[in-house]
C-alpha cells in the first residue's frame, strides 16, 4: 500500500457554477447521511475529476513502488525473505490493478491511465524517486513507507466513493503482512552486528526526509481542500496524518536504539503534538516535477515493460471487443 501525499489541484472559482443545485444538494445530503456514492450515481464534475486523480495516483504509486523492491528480490538475504519479498511485490501490483479498476468506474480507461503515467502527465508518490542503495533501504521502505501509507489509506477507506472503499478494504487486509515483514527486517538489522546497525541507521537517515514529504506539504502551504473534505474525498489533512504517523512510529524507531536525523523532533507536552523541522519543501516540489534522482529511470523502466508487452496485447486484441465502463 503506497498511496500518500496526494497532490490536489485547487478547485477553480467557476468550477462549481455549472452544477445543478438540486442534484448537488441531494448528492451532499447522501454523503452527509454517511451513504457511499456508487458509480452510476450523479456526481459533480469536480468530485469525479479529483477522485480519478487521487485513485490513479495511488494506483501508479503501487506500480512504481514495486520497482525499488522488485530489483532486490534476487539479493534478499535468505530463501524465506526472497519468498516474502516476492509475495509483497506481487501484492503491490495486485493493489494497482484493484485501484485502476476503481478509477475506471469513474470513466477513465486503464490504458489512458497507463499512458498518462508513462508520459509523465500523472503523478505517483514522490518517495519512489529515491534509490534503495542497500538491503536496509528495502527494510525501511517495507516498514515505514508502508506504515505511512496505511495511515493515509485507513483514512481514505472511510471516504465517500464506494469502489475506492471496497478496493481499500481488500488492500488494507493484505497490507498488515507488509508492515510486519518490514518491521521484522528492521529489528533483525537493528539488533544485529555493528555493521548491520550502521547499515539500517544510514538507510533511516536517507529516508527520513522523503518520509516527512510523504504526507504532502503542510496545511498552511496546501491548496484549499475544504470542498474535498466535505465530500469525503480527502479524509484528513496532511499535517494530521503526519502527526499520526509520528505518534505511532517514532517510539518504535527509538526503542530499537536508532536515531532520527532531526534534532528538533520531540513531542510537545503542551500541545500534545510533535515538533519537528520542516523538511525542504522546495526539494519536494523539484522532485515531484521530475527532477529527482530516479524520476527518469522509473518511467523508462515502466515504458520499456509496456513496449515489450505490446505485441502480446496486440495479438490478443479483437476489433469487435466491446469496451464499456466497468460496474463497481
Amino acid at each position: 500500500m503506497y498511496g500518500g501525499g496526494n497532490t490536489f489541484e485547487a478547485p477553480k472559482q467557476n468550477e462549481m457554477q455549472a452544477e445543478d443545485p438540486q442534484k448537488l444538494a441531494e448528492f451532499e445530503a447522501r454523503i452527509e447521511r454517511g451513504e457511499k456514492i456508487e458509480p452510476s450515481d450523479w456526481m459533480p464534475a469536480l468530485y469525479r475529476k479529483q477522485l480519478i486523480r487521487m485513485i490513479e495516483q495511488h494506483a501508479h504509486s503501487e506500480i512504481i513502488g514495486a520497482l525499488p523492491e522488485g530489483t532486490w528480490i534476487t539479493r534478499a538475504p535468505g530463501f524465506r525473505r526472497k519468498l516474502a519479498l516476492m509475495a509483497k511485490v506481487q501484492d503491490e501490483v495486485g493493489h494497482a490493478q484493484l485501484l485502476y479498476s476503481a478509477a475506471e468506474t469513474l470513466g477513465k480507461s486503464r490504458e489512458d491511465m497507463l499512458s498518462d503515467l508513462i508520459s509523465g502527465k500523472s503523478k505517483y508518490s514522490n518517495i519512489f524517486n529515491y534509490p534503495a542503495f542497500t538491503w536496509a533501504d528495502t527494510a525501511v521502505i517495507a516498514w515505514l513507507v508502508d506504515a505511512g501509507a496505511i495511515v493515509n489509506q485507513l483514512a481514505n477507506s472511510r471516504g465517500s466513493y464506494a469502489p475506492y472503499s471496497r478496493a481499500l478494504e481488500r488492500i488494507c487486509a493484505e497490507e498488515s503482512f507488509h508492515l510486519k515483514y518490514g518491521h521484522h527486517a528492521v529489528i533483525h538489522l537493528a539488533t544485529g552486528t555493528p555493521t548491520q546497525r550502521k547499515m539500517v541507521q544510514e538507510a533511516l537517515n536517507r529516508w527520513w526526509a522523503p518520509l516527512m514529504h510523504f504526507f504532502g506539504p503542510p496545511d498552511k502551504m496546501s491548496v484549499h481542500t475544504e470542498v474535498l473534505m466535505k465530500w469525503k474525498v480527502k479524509m484528513a489533512t496532511n499535517d494530521d496524518m503526519r502527526q499520526q504517523f509520528l505518534d505511532m512510529y517514532v517510539p518504535k524507531i527509538w526503542e530499537l536504539g536508532l536515531t532520527i536525523p532531526d534534532e528538533n523532533l520531540r513531542k510537545n507536552e503542551e500541545t500534545g503534538k510533535w515538533d519537528y523541522t520542516e523538511p525542504d519543501w522546495e526539494e519536494f516540489k523539484r522532485v515531484i516535477n521530475g527532477d529527482g534522482p530516479l524520476n527518469k529511470e522509473r518511467l523508462a523502466v515502466r515504458r520499456i515493460a509496456e513496449e515489450r508487452g505490446r505485441w502480446v496485447r496486440n495479438a490478443l486484441l479483437k476489433s469487435e471487443a466491446n469496451y464499456v465502463t466497468p460496474l463497481a
Binding site: E35, E38, R166, L294, K318, A328
Partner: protein, 205 residues
C-alpha cells in the same frame, strides 16, 4: 538507449527502449472487462470481487484467480462480461429498489435461468441472492421481486443470464491447492516482541 541506473541491478538488466512503437498503436487499445465473483466457502454466497481485463472469458477466469483469490482459497469462482450484466438504478436512504420494479406487460413462453445479485448496503460488495426462471431481464427482475423481496431494503440489482457466466469446473479447483502453507506472507508469522524485549534487556544490562 540502455538504462544506466543508480541501482546496479537495473543497469545489469540491459533494458533498451524499442523506440518503434508509435506507428503500431492498435485502433482498439482495450481488452473488454469482466465482473468477477468469488465464493469463499461452500455455505457462503458468491460475492462480487471486482473486475479483470481479458481478451476472452476463459482468460478472464484465469486472471480472476490471480487477482481475487491469490491470498486465500475459494470454493467457487465465476466471471461474466460486463456487457452481459444488467443493472437497475441504485436507490438511497433505505428505499428498496424492488419497489420500483413493475410487472412486465408480456410474458414469454421460453424461459431460462437468470442469476440475481443484491447490493444490500451502499459501499459493500454485491452478493448473490438466488436464481429465477425468466424470458427476459424485465421478467427476471419481476420474478426476483416475488422471490427475494423482504423487509430489508435492496439498493441495486444485478441480473445475469446463467449462460453468460463462466464458473470454474469442479475438477479445476485444484488451482487453489498451492495456497496452503505460505506462512511467509502471513502477518501473524512475524513475531517482533520477544526480539525487541531481549534487545532492551541487553541494552539495560
Amino acid at each position: 538507449m540502455t538504462i544506466q541506473s543508480l541501482d546496479p541491478r537495473v543497469s545489469r538488466l540491459g533494458l533498451t527502449s524499442l523506440q518503434n512503437d508509435d506507428a503500431e498503436q492498435a485502433t482498439v487499445n482495450q481488452f473488454p472487462t469482466f465482473q468477477v465473483f468469488t465464493q469463499k466457502k461452500e455455505d457462503k454466497p458468491f460475492e462480487h470481487g471486482g473486475i479483470v481485463h481479458a481478451p476472452n472469458i476463459e482468460m478472464a477466469l484465469i486472471f480472476a484467480k490471480e487477482q481475487y483469490s491469490r491470498r486465500f482459497t475459494c470454493s467457487g469462482l465465476a466471471v461474466a462480461a460486463t456487457t452481459s450484466v444488467k443493472t437497475t438504478d441504485v436507490s438511497e436512504n433505505k428505499e428498496d429498489i424492488y419497489n420500483l420494479i413493475q410487472e412486465p406487460a408480456v410474458s414469454s413462453s421460453e424461459k431460462e435461468p437468470y442469476e440475481i445479485f443484491h447490493l444490500n448496503k451502499r459501499g459493500k460488495q454485491t452478493v448473490y441472492a438466488g436464481s429465477v426462471e425468466a424470458g427476459s431481464f424485465e421478467e427476471a427482475a419481476w420474478e426476483a421481486k416475488k422471490a427475494f423481496q423482504n423487509d430489508k431494503p435492496v439498493y441495486n440489482l444485478w441480473l445475469i443470464r446463467r449462460n453468460d457466466i463462466l464458473f470454474i469446473d469442479e475438477e479445476d479447483k485444484d488451482i487453489w491447492a498451492t495456497l496452503g502453507d505460505k506462512k511467509y506472507r502471513d502477518a501473524l508469522d512475524y513475531k517482533a516482541t520477544d526480539k525487541i524485549k531481549a534487545f532492551k534487556e541487553e541494552q539495560n544490562r
